[in-house]
């Protein structure tokens, strides 16, 4: 019988090896999904091909996947900044909501402002609102030593209820027959689409912000301090790094990025604020950030893949009548196998000698 032993690697696995592990993990999750499809009475080959066709197989599909990846990417970029410092911000959902609220406030208050002033103002307010919402748990953590996981999670519910309060109350469109939604935004408050595509300019925002975050961690001192403190808090404190201030900084950045996503979703996609804007991107972001090991470029890839999966599953439902829950199962499998595969970055299996 073959018996295995786990030993630590001398050097972490290189790029080639990591890619191999990742691809193996993805194939494994797809294989299990195929078996499930087969058990459910659907042809697995047809099923997987419909899934890919629906996600990336045509221009429309690709546009849809990218469109859905935009808010996921920004939220994931945000949580990744906090995760670098090992600050577990589970609150992207709430910060996203606050961003949408902030942007909507500006859009409803100054609908006639020209676009080049109104949009930046909306972005600014969205970032401020999301950033402040992120700052609160950071302050509570420092002053009252609360756990940021619990506080950020709880604040999501507060944020969503606050959003409900606004759209069911003071911001409710008087012409909506009592349904919860704000009036539609003016033309100037809407982020448009790129040329003749279905994708909005938010994609460009993502590219710019992703690059900025990349450079921030690569080339700035504060970025280095965050990484160093994340790797070893004690050593960082001993070296005199301003750990508490870094915690506040990453939470504000994290919240501001999620807030930006909220702005884009309200402005570009929904064109108003309504409760259905909240579909859990803030939670998906955590999955994406982990899958991507917190690296901005990988976050982009993971966001598009996960968005594509969600889009593709709709085709799977429509063409082959596979239940909606199947998408959640594949997503869970991918997360499980990829994270489990992460073990091989620092460890390896060796056959046990007798």
């Amino acid at each position: 019988m073959l018996r295995m032993r786990i030993t630590k690697r001398q050097e972490p696995l290189g790029i080639g090896g990591s890619c191999f592990v990742l691809l193996t993990a993805l194939s494994l999750s797809l294989l299990v999904s195929a078996v499930l499809l087969y058990l459910g009475g659907t042809s697995p080959i047809r099923g997987i091909s419909v899934l890919f066709q629906g996600a990336f197989g045509s221009r429309y599909a690709l546009e849809d996947s990218i469109l859905k990846a935009i808010p996921i990417f920004l939220c994931a970029l945000g949580v990744a900044v906090a995760f670098r410092l090992k600050i577990w911000n589970i609150g992207a959902e709430g910060q996203f909501a606050l961003g949408a609220i902030g942007a909507t406030w500006i859009a409803l208050s100054f609908p006639a402002w020209p676009k080049f002033i109104l949009l930046p103002a909306m972005i600014g307010m969205a970032m401020a609102a999301g950033g402040l919402w992120g700052l609160i748990p950071a302050l509570l953590r420092q002053k009252l030593r609360t756990n940021e996981i619990i506080v950020t999670l709880m604040m999501n519910y507060i944020a969503i209820l606050f959003l409900d309060f606004l759209v069911y109350g003071v911001w409710k469109d008087p012409t909506s027959f009592g349904f919860p939604m704000t009036p539609g935004f003016s033309e100037q408050a809407i982020v448009g689409k790129i040329g003749a595509t279905a994708v909005n300019w938010g994609l460009v925002h993502c590219l710019v912000l992703g690059t900025l975050v990349f450079f921030f961690f690569r080339f700035t001192r504060i970025g280095f301090e965050i990484k160093a403190s994340g790797d070893n808090v004690r050593a960082a404190r001993y070296a005199g790094l301003p750990y508490d201030r870094l915690v506040m900084l990453v939470m504000v950045m994290s919240g501001a990025l999620a807030g930006w996503a909220g702005f884009l979703e309200a402005s570009a996609t929904v064109n108003r604020l309504q409760p259905s804007i909240m579909v859990g991107y803030g939670y998906t972001a955590i999955v994406v950030a982990w899958l991507a090991r917190l690296h901005p470029l990988s976050i982009g890839i993971a966001a598009v893949l996960l968005a594509g999966l969600r889009v593709g599953v709709e085709s799977l439902q429509l063409d082959l009548q596979v239940p909606a829950a199947f998408g959640g199962i594949i997503e869970g499998l991918i997360l499980l196998t990829v994270l489990a595969g992460g073990l091989f970055t620092h460890y390896r299996l060796v056959p046990r000698k007798h």
Partner: protein
């Protein structure tokens, strides 16, 4: 000139339709807000879908558990691109996305359930569920012992508020002392939350639980406590046989069949349809064995009046929670008033926020 062109087009379409009419293969798509296994709202729409699937020359498909908002826009676009002839979207939040998609695909017929916007190729429809709710309220009012009724409700939107009001009017018509306590869950479909909400009502002494949700969660809570319940959407008797008094139910098959046939014949026109009990779209599920004969007879008599059109339910004088008269004596509330209802009638305990 334009008129003539349009007329010519209509004639041409008519000619094509008579030539191929009966043979034209119809593809019909449905967008549901919850899984069809919810035994409730989406389940009842899916019953309607199955009925038209059984028609010759009709194929159907659906996408379930589609979040309201941008996701639904994509799902409907996808259906339209795959050349579905008719797309039914069955939740309120699909309205604006559907309007956008309808503009992009002028040849596809779009049908939105429960909203208020229409376009040339987009109709809206819903059923006068409040009629059946009134009847279920009569049953609940007759069966309560403590005069406190619980109502688990999804969102404070006019559809739900109207249902609660109709239910309460039904309760008061047989039992003027009873009150209806409302708890909002802020979700259409979350069986655990719905059940918890029902328990909170049981804790304040409610002995009949009614609901406006997509699952039978509240029914189960009532059964566990040993009190009665009023279901919704479909006959929920199997989920809580000891508790289930009756349920206002949907029966979409006749309406969906009509729409499909109209589109096939080319006689479909965009409209805001609001059929009721007389059209068979809404009904009351069979009574549970615990409902006494005299109560059943009384409710059935009232049902006959609704079908005949002599019982309109929202007939003044009707006061709101503050005792202010909202519908004056002898006045029948208009459809726009009903569709935009945002206040509770006297006898409801709870807020519309």
């Amino acid at each position: 000139m334009r008129v003539w062109k349009a007329l010519l087009a209509v004639l041409l379409i008519g000619a094509v339709n008579t030539a191929y009419g009966a043979d034209k293969e119809m593809k019909v798509g449905f967008v549901y807000v919850s899984p069809i296994g919810d035994a409730g709202y989406s389940y009842s729409h899916d019953k309607g879908r199955q009925a038209i699937e059984a028609l010759p020359g009709v194929t159907t498909s659906y996408v379930e558990a589609v979040p309201e908002g941008p996701d639904s826009e994509r799902v409907m676009q996808n259906m339209a691109r795959k050349e579905f002839d008719i797309i039914f979207a069955t939740s309120f939040g699909y309205m604006d996305p559907m309007l956008k998609v309808a503009k992009q695909f002028p040849k596809t017929v779009f049908m939105h359930c429960s909203g208020f916007k229409t376009a040339e190729n987009m109709g809206n429809y819903f059923g006068r569920m409040y009629q059946a709710r009134y009847l279920s309220g009569m049953v609940a009012g007759a069966m309560t012992k403590g005069n406190v009724l619980g109502y688990v409700a999804a969102f404070p939107i006019p559809e739900v508020i109207r249902g609660i009001n109709a239910f309460t009017l039904g309760v008061k018509s047989v039992n003027p002392n009873a009150t209806v306590r409302v708890v909002w869950t802020k979700t259409w479909y979350d069986p655990a939350t719905e059940k918890e909400a029902a328990k909170s009502l049981l804790d304040v002494g409610a002995d009949v639980i009614a609901q406006h949700q997509d699952s039978p969660g509240p029914q189960e809570a009532a059964q566990e406590k040993g009190v009665y319940s009023i279901g919704y959407n479909s006959d929920m008797a199997t989920f809580a046989p000891k508790a289930h008094l009756t349920a206002p139910v949907w029966n979409w098959a006749p309406y969906y069949t009509k729409v499909v046939e109209d589109v096939r014949k080319g006689t479909w026109k965009s409209e805001a349809a609001w059929p009721g009990m007389a059209d068979g779209v809404v009904d009351l599920a069979p009574f549970g064995p615990m409902v006494p004969k005299d109560v059943q007879d009384k409710v059935n008599a009232e049902k006959a009046k609704i079908v005949a059109g002599t019982q309109k339910i929202f007939v003044g004088p009707i006061k709101d929670q503050n005792g202010e008269v909202k519908i004056a004596d002898g006045v029948v509330a208009t459809d726009p008033e009903l569709l935009g209802m945002t206040w509770f009638v006297e006898g409801v305990v709870g807020t519309t926020k």
